[in-house]
């Protein structure tokens, strides 16, 4: 072959090299979203179906969608994809595609990724389910003795870190441990009533900013759950995941509440998303069933905090009076500029 005349196919071939092996991942994720969009409309046994989808999603993530789709990886990938616009469009598409799918789906259909698909959320739900099996007590109410036990657990975690680090078992550059330690510290402070749940949720902005800055400066960060998605041995990431599950035993979905950067982004987008769950105050009898079933404490007095809602539909399915409804906000806005008289939502405090 004449080296000066490369085959014409190269013109098409080379740009697509970066996409190798990703079509299955993309198709899988799109399929997941479509599946959720369709079956979340089915009201019968919706919570059981949600659990099935969550288990299915973990399988999808473990076996198919594994390339850097951690909560941190998606931010890092998006930034890198942005830098390629103008020079390598297809590669840019590859790096940005998965985050764009998640955010677009949030804008169109609400934060279904958090409530139905996210494997980290599923693991936390599993921990929460175990807690309800073990103790019927309401979460967040610990006696002083229990707080002491919890303090010992936190200290034990830090001691384990020290031992592992001294023995060089951990690559100390792995920052997933920083996030795990932050999470367990925050949970302890919340349970000890030194800090409160709702104000602490603003720290997700900090978490997102930290990821953004480190990704922009090409610093290495690894998500919790990273070890699972990539099927590799990663003691730091595995330890961080265990810590997230332990934290969820005490504060349900604590990772989502306090530190998840994607939770911050999806919550932000949910303010403008097409679908939203709203409550009818005329029907609500203030029984509190919805608040009891909401894993992220997104409901207060029958009102939903938009940025905290994860679209699990627990409130809709458990409300004895049927006060909660899924509403197409965009259509409502187009048809009636003024919102329905009796629906109520809570937007973000600031």
């Amino acid at each position: 072959m004449d080296p000066e005349r490369l085959p014409l196919s190269k013109l098409f071939d080379v740009p697509f090299l970066s996409l190798d092996g990703t079509s299955v991942e993309m198709a899988s994720l799109l399929f997941l979203f479509l599946l959720v969009l369709v079956i979340s409309r089915v009201q019968r046994h919706r919570q059981i179906v949600r659990r099935v989808v969550q288990v299915l999603s973990i399988g999808f993530f473990f076996y198919i969608v594994y390339s850097c789709l951690g909560v941190f990886g998606m931010i890092r990938n998006s930034l890198f994809g942005l830098t390629l616009i103008g020079s390598a469009y297809t590669e840019s598409f590859y790096w940005m595609a998965l985050p764009v799918v998640v955010l677009s789906a949030t804008l169109i259909a609400g934060p279904v990724f958090c409530g139905w698909i996210c494997p980290t959320g599923t693991l936390q739900d599993l921990a929460d389910w175990l807690r309800t099996r073990m103790a019927k007590r309401r979460r967040g109410r610990l006696s002083p003795a229990q707080l002491v036990v919890l303090a010992v657990l936190v200290s034990g975690f830090l001691a384990a870190l020290i031992v592992l680090s001294i023995k060089k078992e951990l690559f100390v550059e792995d920052s997933s441990l920083h996030w795990a330690a932050s999470l367990i510290l925050l949970c302890y402070l919340v349970l000890a009533r030194i800090i409160d749940d709702i104000p602490t949720r603003k720290l997700r902005i900090l978490s997102f900013s930290a990821i953004f800055v480190t990704a922009a400066s090409h610093l290495v960060i690894t998500s919790p759950m990273h070890f699972a998605f990539t099927a590799r041995s990663d003691p730091a990431s595995a330890l961080a995941t265990v810590i997230i599950m332990i934290a969820a035993l005490f504060v349900a979905r604590s990772w989502c509440r306090y530190l998840c950067p994607w939770g911050y982004l999806t919550g932000l987008l949910h303010r403008f998303s097409r679908l939203r769950i709203v409550s009818d105050r005329a029907v609500c009898n203030d029984c509190g069933v919805c608040k009891a079933h909401c894993a992220v404490d997104a409901i207060d007095n029958g009102r939903i905090r938009t940025e905290a809602c994860q679209f699990c539909f627990s409130c809709v399915d458990h409300c004895p009076t049927g006060a909660f409804q899924l509403v197409d906000v965009w259509r409502l806005s187009a048809e009636r500029p003024a919102a329905p008289a009796t629906t109520t939502t809570i937007a973000e405090a600031h």
Partner: protein, 501 residues
């Protein structure tokens, strides 16, 4: 009696390096690790290159930070071009760089259609130097080593719209038959589309001068290592491993499979060939942690040695016949030296991290040594004869964490006697290629890995976080008049912004 034993021992120690000297340093880097013994060391007398010095070629700005952690990073190779000593190295930025081995100056660069993870190799014909490059764009390039111009290109797999990338092993230059110079390239290509979900592992032989295909051999659908060309008893062999756990021996003349030895785990590195005291052997290593000596004729096992953890680098062989030794690094944090004929351990040198690289041998000079990179971020230099630690050099922080270790074949060091001075060339994981003089006493200043950054960053991260959370809580409580102190999960009324009526 004791005196005789001492004299015999001393004679053995002094003669081993001498015997090795004649065999270890190859003259042309025509395979991934220079020769069939994987010695990774070469002697170059280059009049146009001055005395070599320490230098660093910073490629980090051209490489996206974390990609090398999940793939293969090209080891440097050395050769001669226009009477200059040249270091060639592939990069993730699709480019092959040729640098002056003495000064680090860029002589030329050649951009392919994909990241280059395989080691480029050199060849000389008609008084000219060639470089063969296998890129992940499924293409083998023959390049003029002096000018950096392409001489021929060959696409190993035909294009189709849905085909994905490929992993091509380092080319090896040998012969098909008795007269035809050939380039052998192993490759693994896949199509990840929903309609064509398939993978192929193949070896192709190309004529070295024109790039015309001579034969092609199918070896299943698993990733292959680079090939090693070996000659024994007048026959041409091609040796390679596969991630399906097989070591294959092919006839280099026809591509016909001669034998396959199945290992208990994947084989991530090319085997080595040695003319040992018990006959010609193939020395293979696997992720199972095994090292085996196999007859090159039949694949029958002659000896077996088990290390404590996986082996991802190639074994290197020093010498031949009696006294031939095998060097290999293991993830069990030891560099092993074994007798090539019996597989018996001669020494095991401990380091503070798993050894991921293939060793490079420095058989002569004031301190004959073996070089190997480990996950303690050091390049270790160990005495060839006794396993004594000579020095170690900090080669940079990893840009990827422990997660990617067993999925990667990281760059291995290369050694070269350039104009009478031994140098090591190390592609580090921070994107830099470093040239390190090996006989400069001022260089022996090992920098220990420190956890200081970790211990500083932990309180720096946690303390402000807790303080900020507390400040947010205090502000919220003040606004709510201490309403929240009774229940940390209570929702402040101030968060109710929109009541639609």
């Amino acid at each position: 009696m004791r005196t005789v034993a001492a004299l015999l021992g001393a004679a053995l120690i002094t003669t081993l390096p001498a015997a090795a000297r004649a065999h270890a340093s190859c003259s042309l880097w025509s395979q991934g690790r220079c020769d069939a013994a994987n010695s990774a060391s070469i002697t170059i007398d280059a009049p146009k290159s001055g005395p070599p010095r320490a230098w660093t070629f910073d490629g980090s700005g051209r490489v996206w930070g974390y990609e090398p952690g999940i793939t293969i990073w090209s080891p440097p190779t050395l050769g001669m071009a226009d009477k200059r000593a040249v270091v060639a190295v592939g990069s993730y930025d699709h480019t092959v760089y040729a640098l002056d081995a003495s000064s680090g100056n860029t002589l030329w660069k050649f951009t392919t259609g994909g990241p280059v993870f395989a080691a480029p190799v050199f060849w000389e014909a008609d008084g000219k130097s060639w470089v063969f490059v296998a890129s992940t764009d499924r293409t083998v390039y023959a390049i003029d080593a002096e000018q950096g111009r392409p001489l021929w290109v060959h696409e190993v797999e035909d294009y189709r719209a849905t085909i994905g990338g490929a992993r091509l092993g380092a080319p090896s230059v040998g012969r098909v038959g008795s007269a035809t110079d050939a380039v052998f390239v192993s490759y693994w290509v896949w199509d990840g589309s929903l309609t064509h979900n398939e993978a192929h592992a193949r070896v192709v032989a190309l004529s070295a001068r024109e790039g015309k295909p001579l034969w092609r051999s199918d070896l299943g659908d698993n990733e292959l290592t680079a090939t090693v060309f070996a000659q024994s008893s007048g026959r041409n062999f091609l040796l390679l491993g596969s991630s399906n756990g097989n070591v294959y021996a092919l006839s280099a003349d026809t591509g016909r499979l001669l034998w396959a030895k199945t290992e208990l785990d994947s084989v991530r590195s090319p085997p080595a060939f040695v003319e040992s005291a018990v006959g010609p052997l193939v020395v293979m290593a696997s992720k199972y942690g095994s090292l085996r000596g196999l007859s090159i004729e039949t694949g029958a096992e002659r000896w077996h040695y088990k290390t404590g953890d996986r082996i991802t680098g190639s074994p290197s062989v020093l010498g031949s016949g009696r006294g031939a030794r095998v060097f290999v690094g293991s993830y069990d944090r030891h560099l092993y030296c074994l007798d090539a004929a019996t597989g018996k351990e001669i020494f095991a040198h401990p380091v503070r991290g798993g050894i991921y690289s293939s060793p490079a041998l420095v058989p002569s000079g004031a301190h004959p040594m073996v070089l190997a990179s480990a996950w303690d971020n050091q390049l270790h230099a160990v005495g060839l004869s006794d396993g004594a630690s000579l020095f170690s050099i900090f080669t940079g922080r990893p840009i990827w964490n422990v997660a990617g270790l067993d999925e990667s074949n990281w760059s291995s060091p290369a050694a070269a006697l350039v104009n009478g001075r031994w140098m090591a060339y190390v592609g580090s994981y921070d994107g830099a290629l470093r040239a390190l003089p090996l006989e400069d006493d001022s260089r022996i200043v090992p920098r220990l890995r420190s956890n200081l950054g970790f211990w500083i960053s932990f309180p720096l991260a946690l303390a402000p976080l807790a303080l900020l959370a507390r400040a947010l809580t205090v502000r919220a409580r003040r606004r709510e008049g201490q309403r929240l102190s009774a229940d940390p999960f209570a929702i402040p009324a101030s968060s109710v912004l929109a009541h639609r009526k």
